[in-house]
Symmetry: C2
């Protein structure tokens, strides 16, 4: 093992960066701002994808695939959306390379292969999708149209961080079309619910469901719903968004339908997405100074078995390990047996601790005689000796317990770090000294929101959906407010 990770309490940001690299989750690539997702990190992302994909299908959605490129003329059709993304667009201008006459063996862009119209690498796909929907929707019979796509998108970011903010990232984007406003709003809220359920039940991450202020809305949306989570350093992370698009894109791309009475109207739209950013949330919410802590439902290996070999006579031990692996697999548990002889048990213990495998089973020749095994739990770092009899049930129960325990710990942390604050001085002090979510009154104006952001770097994460009605006065301007909103500094 190389030297220890930085401690969260001393260098949270350094801890995160090192952890992502050392646990083999991702690394920076030769392309500015783009990451390589390594096999172990990708295996976690696959588990997220499979779960979300199932949830999307259970709620009636189908997958499809739309082009990577958006012609500039389509991209600019919905003006708010185009303006919102224009500054971070990668643009394809040429379609051919040729040999560089001045440098043998080198290539150059062929100036004769310039595209008539530039192509934007999709930063999001509303434009290309709604231009397609125009051909798919004529009548109410074609609605609702409930489509999702798993794709890569590119947003040219100046400051990037692995998983949290990268120029290229992987995501899913749902794009639905409806015949009524009410149905589109219902869909927007339903998908927010799916995201919240996924966050809580799989990521083990409690989230606040809410609505963004107009300032923080998706460009082109009438309303943006979001789920907001709290990281261990007291900063918020937006973990998913669901947008009610009204008829904006239908109007920009002339998508109309005939209703049952024969009347022609524009279609109502939604879009919603989560991305590889969830990997960042997962890592930052639960992990500790020893490495990753993974919720069992998303761990690539829920259990690792490490044989404690000694001397040369290990045949029986290794055979027992194989049988144990088979038993656990049969019970539906994902298991890795690390019987490599190129690494020592101590190295393996540290490795799987770093990689957050929820349960570690170690078994030596003495355990064999006792029909027992050493069981270590990653989240609590506790160990116990248990019998091999009925080990399957014991581990199945333990995995559930760990999943719940990780969630409860994160929830307790969030509750502790969520404060109601009524005056601006305390608000600022709290942000610096004991950061977390702050529920405070705000006068509802973009000016005050902007002032708070400039002065404190805290933003309104959302207006919580379950907000209680509470008359109060804005902590900054003293103007009336009818409920608290959720503030935090954020990723």
């Amino acid at each position: 093992m190389s030297k220890a990770l930085p401690k969260r309490s001393e260098d949270y940001s350094g801890w995160y960066n090192e952890l992502v690299k050392r646990a083999d989750l991702a690394e920076n690539s030769a392309v500015r701002g783009c990451m390589v997702i390594k096999p172990y990190g990708f295996a976690i992302w696959e588990k997220m994808q499979q779960t979300l994909d199932r949830m999307f299908k259970e709620t009636g959605h189908s997958n499809a695939y739309f082009p990577l490129f958006v012609p500039k003329s389509l991209f600019e059709a919905e003006e708010q959306n185009a303006e919102g993304f224009a500054k971070e667009c990668a643009v394809v201008t040429h379609y051919r390379l040729k040999n560089d006459p001045d440098k043998k063996g080198k290539l150059m862009v062929d100036p004769e292969a310039r595209l008539e119209e530039e192509l934007i690498v999709r930063p999001t796909s509303e434009a290309i999708i709604w231009s397609t929907y125009k051909g798919w929707i004529q009548s109410y019979r074609d609605l609702p149209l409930l489509i999702n796509q798993w794709a890569n998108v590119v947003r040219w970011e100046m400051r990037t961080r692995l998983f949290l903010r990268t120029a290229e990232f992987l995501w899913q984007e749902g794009h639905t079309a409806h015949s009524t406003k009410a149905e589109a709003i219902e869909e927007t809220e339903k998908m927010l619910g799916v995201y919240a359920e996924f966050a809580e039940n799989f990521l083990a991450l409690p989230v606040v469901k809410g609505v963004k202020t107009p300032n923080e809305r998706f460009a082109g949306a009438l309303d943006t719903y979001c789920i907001e989570a709290l990281m261990q350093d007291g900063k918020a992370l937006q973990a998913g968004t669901s947008h009610f698009l009204g008829q904006n894109f239908a109007k920009a791309f002339d998508v109309k339908f005939t209703d049952k009475t024969g009347t022609l109207d524009y279609v109502w739209g939604t879009s919603w997405g989560v991305s590889t950013r969830l990997m960042g949330a997962l890592i930052m919410a639960h992990s500790d100074d020893n490495g990753l802590v993974l919720p069992p439902k998303l761990a690539p290996h829920q259990v690792v078995i490490v044989p404690i070999v000694f001397g040369d006579d290990n045949a029986v031990l290794l055979e027992t390990c194989k049988q144990l692996k088979a038993r656990l697999l049969k019970a539906g548990i994902s298991v890795l047996l690390d019987d490599r002889d190129t690494q020592k048990p101590g190295w393996k213990f540290a490795e799987y601790e770093l990689k957050g495998v929820p349960v570690r089973l170690a078994i030596g020749n003495r355990d064999l005689q006792n029909n027992s095994i050493e069981l270590a739990r990653r989240d609590t770092l506790t160990k116990e000796t248990v019998s091999l009899d009925g080990i399957e049930d014991r581990i199945l129960n333990l995995l559930d317990e760990i999943q719940e325990s990780i969630y409860k710990k994160a929830l307790a942390f969030r509750e502790k770090q969520t404060q109601k604050v009524d005056d601006y001085e305390t608000f600022k002090k709290q942000l610096d000294e004991n950061p977390g979510f702050i529920l405070a009154h705000w006068d509802g104006t973009p000016e005050t929101e902007e002032r708070i952001k400039t002065e404190t770097k805290a933003t309104i994460r959302c207006i919580p959906l379950d907000q209680e009605k509470e008359e109060g006065v804005c902590m900054v301007t003293g103007k009336p407010s009818s409920g608290r909103v959720l503030f935090a500094r954020a990723y």
Copy 2:
């Protein structure tokens, strides 16, 4: 139903294009050469993905993800590969748009946001992946490295056709690194075997396994293995390739490892891929003038149930259909119940015939009384009345039978259309009058290969792996040949 499809015998190409669109598989997009894969087409692709992904994992591979973009300097590092793809590369030159001062509401590429180094949109990922492997491989302990990626790639094609040749397509690309030449060759052949097994057992498509001639090799490979299938019009389609890269990329990107004796050497590589082109193969191999014919293992719905409603009293009928659906689902069969009242049964029959659903069950009130159902088989277009008792087993067996029957039909066709030809005149005549695979002797020179291609548009599809030793003379030059190679005109 709109007008019938063109007939294969009259306009095979028109039949294919219309079928792809009308069966809701894919359509052209607003972006030149890029397609939209529609939900029904994507559902078939998902089944292919899931199956292949499982097969890759069973053979020890892990998924990962590498950047979409390749910096030009990395792209050109392996010269053969770079030269092979240079003419079809989409190039990103700028990273920002701005408001066009001359056109209100329009955007333009910001000339101040020009990239210092152009980025190539990956046409294949050897360059970016091997530049990454350099950091991952130091010792024999790091090998073999067995990685796959599911991704989109872009190759700027001038003439495009849905699924068969598109500027952007979806694929998987495996990239492996090994410590010995023998192991890398074994991997190359193993993955060819996986592709052949997938083609035969899932696509129901017999394939010839072989090796490409040097002319037809992947740019940068020492050997390209392929599987070749025959379409109903007698043209060949390359359905997958597996490349032995030797140490080419290791040398270009300086990827070395220390072996057990402490000696430093370059790593040996392979890469292998299949793409959404398989969708084209699937469609063209089995479908008929009525529409798609899908092998049950890849059909999004293996069975469709159509209630024959009549008058108003259909409650019992619809309830029976629901119960039947539940029974079939429970037996592991994917079922669609189309109980929409917006379309008539006749319309639905034509629709599911067009979409290739393997088994159609129709049930009316009279069937209810007889405890029976009408069962129609898509591949043979036959119908029979069967009892509802034990329907699950009957359908499970039938699905197996259909899968096998489709394969056998394609195999019989290929055998009929595979001819041994010994003289060039017969070769040319055969290509025009009775096209298919032709096994002929060739003198082994690129010149003769090129001449045949120019004169007949036929190419050497492969040197079959199971080729029998047979002394002969080249049909063009009369020079000696030690075995027949496989010729065809190809997609």
